[in-house]
């Protein structure tokens, strides 16, 4: 418990003035432009959009600047801003199979229709600091262009499903739950946890996903496919009655392929863990897919004994804005609480001493 205390206005005002000054840094240097953040720190912007659960590159870049690069603080700012906007409705489900691919790789098939497309990746870089970036550089040469293949790029999971080796998703058009409107009531359906994971903290999900690989919820995953690119968002305004295109957003999708021993009613087959995130967020999409598969343990009749398989554990702790709120509230005055603890401790010691 904490109590309201008055006072400190001057100190708070001065602290925020210092924050402004600290954010600006050395005034002899040019001020960082929001457009520069948006363009040149694009993956930070993507992460803030994903965890802020609001796709708007300009707003996310502004949040990164305002938060001085603290990405959880930036996600918090974006979440706060979104509460000021009315919701017009929900889009049609995005068609990731028709994604305009910038990157698409599979670790399960070398030759697959559409091929392996690396895209703008850190993979195969040597992770050596590039001091050329610290110096004034000449304009960067445009990336080479090849001959685009107009052939469609089917999902790897679809190739397996056609052979009957991959458990098919049940396609339903039921209205999904929305955790921003309705509280979580456990157990929740998969639609609810996918929403929670999509806005969940990358670091937390990365650690949990890693734990499933290390034996806490044995899942034996393969990266069936990772794809990143633009999808068109369609929306049906009530006054029009037909779907119109709102524009494009960049998404990263990961399909993890996992073993499944089969059951009385189903033959042995592969199952999938699914990750889908705003922007270019491959690590997050992969971690999300691992955790999604972990959370499906109960549905697939597997033992539920690892953290990544527990809905309550994962969903109550994956949201960094919520977690930050509760962890950081410890900074608020707990003077009365602590005073009572002190008195209790003193009296216990006094009794023990008598």
């Amino acid at each position: 418990m904490y109590v309201a205390v008055k006072g400190g206005e001057r100190a708070i005002g001065n602290a925020h003035a210092w924050l402004d000054e600290a954010r600006r840094g050395d005034p002899a240097l040019a001020e960082l432009d929001v457009a520069q953040v948006e363009q040149q720190l694009g993956l930070a912007v993507d992460r803030v959009m994903a965890e802020g659960s609001c796709y708007d590159r300009g707003l996310a870049a502004l949040a990164v600047k305002q938060a001085r690069g603290d990405l959880i603080e930036a996600a918090f700012l974006l979440r706060a801003y979104r509460t000021t906007l009315a919701r017009f409705g929900a889009s049609e489900p995005v068609e990731t199979g028709a994604m305009r691919i910038q990157r698409r790789i599979s670790a399960t098939y070398k030759d697959l229709p559409g091929g392996q497309v690396l895209g703008p990746t850190f993979d195969y870089t040597h992770r050596l600091l590039d001091f050329a970036l610290a110096a004034e550089r000449e304009a960067v040469a445009p990336a080479p262009e090849g001959v685009a293949d107009p052939a469609p790029m089917p999902r790897v999971t679809e190739l397996l499903a056609r052979e009957g080796l991959m458990r098919r998703e049940s396609r339903s058009d039921a209205e999904p739950p929305d955790l921003t409107r309705d509280p979580l009531n456990f157990p929740v359906p998969r639609a609810a946890w996918l929403q929670a994971l999509a806005r969940g903290d990358e670091g937390f999900l990365l650690g949990l996903g890693y734990s499933t690989q290390r034996g806490y919820g044995n899942s034996h995953p393969f990266a069936g496919e990772i794809r990143m690119g633009e999808v068109t968002v369609e929306f049906t305004p009530p006054e029009l009655g037909f779907a119109i295109e709102l524009g494009e957003i960049v998404l990263t999708e990961c399909q993890m392929v996992n073993q499944f021993a089969g059951s009385k009613s189903e033959p042995p087959q592969f199952t999938r863990g699914y990750g889908l995130v705003f922007g270019h967020g491959e690590r997050k999409a992969m971690a999300m897919a691992l955790v999604d598969r972990g959370l499906r343990a109960e549905e697939l009749g597997e033992p539920v004994d690892a953290p990544a398989q527990s809905q309550e554990f994962v969903l109550y702790h994956c949201d960094n804005v919520e977690a930050t709120g509760f962890v950081e509230h410890l900074k608020l005055p707990h003077y009365v609480d602590f005073q009572s603890e002190l008195e209790k401790l003193r009296s216990l010691r006094q009794e023990a001493g008598q």
Binding site: C54, F88, A90, S91, P93, A148, P176, E245
Partner: protein
Amino acid sequence: MGVLARASLGEIAGCLEQAPPLPAHVRLRGPEAGLVMVRGRQGGDGGRFNLGEMTVTRCSVRLADGTLGHAYVAGRDLRQAELAALLDACLQRPELHGALLAEVVQPLAARQAEAAAKLARKAAATKVEFFTMANMRS
């Protein structure tokens, strides 16, 4: 509508310089920024789920003759949304349709198609050509 939603205010305004002047309009609603919840499908092809929201700006306008125009565009550009709604109304007017299609919609669509094609060509340049190890050993 998709073409106007993807174009920036500057791009649309640039095209309008060549087009006949647009008639006066009144705003019926907006322009106002809001959100649309983006949905995905579980596993890519299963049941729906809520992925997260995106900012969208909408606007509805009416021309003097009563023609209505609507626009919903990604982002928060109020003037882009209003211009898109106005163009939606004007494109329904037979006397303006041809000129606006030729001067605004088609050039923007062509520019967007070229940008998408350029991205596809860059992606194609990063496509892996495998050598089979069997041949290298023999």
